[in-house]
């Protein structure tokens, strides 16, 4: 099977789920920009109204941390690697709207400065990695947090579940973008993408749990306060 041009292999050394240009068709790219644009507009309105004083430095620090950890590809089975997406972590610590702003600036910068993820595919990439991960991560964690009185492990279990599921749904969205673009048939892309990202999601879960545990241990007030603030 000589279909893969070896030069293309070295040309794209891009971390995990970032879609390069050429994988998605014009309509799919356009739909990505439209969906991402709507969500960002809502996030701007929501943060306009509810952003607490301490959220500003926290958002800057969170974006820097996620950018750095995204560079740390960790090996998963079979000569494949993955890296943190971070949307669930940001949503747990900052709420979904601030997380969307944080993740959009990370993913946007990766495309514009680091050529990680295509320019035409930027809308899709923001939709997958900034918006889906923030909503899924926040929703799942919030559901677990309702049972936080049972014990401190409930929050950590919630952080793991939130992180793992956020990767699965981001991978699912990526799969459908590839399928709708006629890049890969569903029967092939779906099991391949979900299989790999079920493993990568474990890494996402472990890093997210570690970060949430760190905040719980050192600055618990940050976590409690921000979750309360964003539950408007």
């Amino acid at each position: 099977m000589a279909a893969v041009d070896p030069s293309a292999l070295t040309a794209i050394e891009a971390p995990a789920m970032h879609i390069p240009d050429g994988f998605v068709s014009g309509p799919v790219a356009g739909a990505g920009f439209a969906l991402a644009g709507v969500a960002i507009a809502v996030a701007v309105r929501a943060t306009n109204r509810s952003l607490g004083e301490r959220a500003v430095p926290l958002m800057g620090v969170m974006a820097a941390f996620i950018f750095a950890v995204q560079m740390m590809n960790f090996p998963v089975a079979g000569g494949t690697s993955g890296h943190l997406l971070g949307g669930a972590l940001a949503a747990i610590l900052l709420g979904p709207w601030a997380a969307i702003i944080v993740m959009t600036s990370v993913v946007g910068l990766q495309a514009l400065l680091f050529q990680d993820g295509g320019l035409a595919a930027l809308g899709d990439n923001i939709f997958n990695m900034a918006i889906i991960t923030a909503f899924v991560g926040y929703g799942v964690y919030w559901a677990f947090a309702q049972f936080a009185h049972i014990g401190p492990w409930v929050r950590l279990a919630g952080a793991f579940a939130a992180a793992w599921l956020s990767v699965q749904l981001a991978a699912l969205a990526t799969t459908f973008e590839l399928v709708l673009s006629d890049t890969s048939p569903l029967s092939v892309a779906l099991p391949a993408m979900m299989g790999v990202h079920a493993l990568i999601g474990i890494g996402e879960g472990l890093i997210t749990v570690a970060a949430v545990a760190f905040v719980l241990a050192t600055r618990r007030d940050l976590l409690e306060a921000e979750v309360a603030v964003s539950e408007v």
Binding site: A16, N48, L51, V56, G60, V61, A63, F65, M71, I101
Partner: protein, 112 residues
């Protein structure tokens, strides 16, 4: 006064952690990632097109021979740029929100 110091401390500690991670970035796995692996196995990787321009491609700072140094420099640049960008965006969002709230007439039905 006290909160000002708290915020500076938060940014310094947080950026310190992020920069620490950036220094470790040469240790990252260079295996193909999830999507790349699927694209390779299912033979659509060659459909990827190169970027129309390059600034810091592949997380390697341009013009640096040593690949580890180039990776760390790219990480430091990215951490600082994304931190400044997000701080500015968050600051502006908060400021415009407060101004709008200070003038209730400009936000019909804003506070319910």
């Amino acid at each position: 006064m006290k909160s000002w110091r708290f915020y500076v401390g938060l940014v310094v500690v947080g950026l310190g952690i992020a920069l620490g991670v950036a220094f470790l970035s040469p240790l990252a796995s260079s295996d193909p990632d999830g999507l790349e692996r699927v694209a390779e196995d299912e033979e659509f990787l060659d459909e990827a097109r190169d970027a129309p321009y390059e600034v810091i491609p592949d997380y390697l700072f341009p013009g640096v021979e040593n690949e580890n140094v180039a990776t760390v420099l790219a990480g430091i640049a990215g951490v600082l740029i994304v931190a400044v960008l997000t701080l500015v965006v968050a600051f502006v969002l908060r400021r415009t929100g407060r101004e709008a709230q200070a003038r209730p007439t400009s936000r019909p039905g804003g506070q319910t």
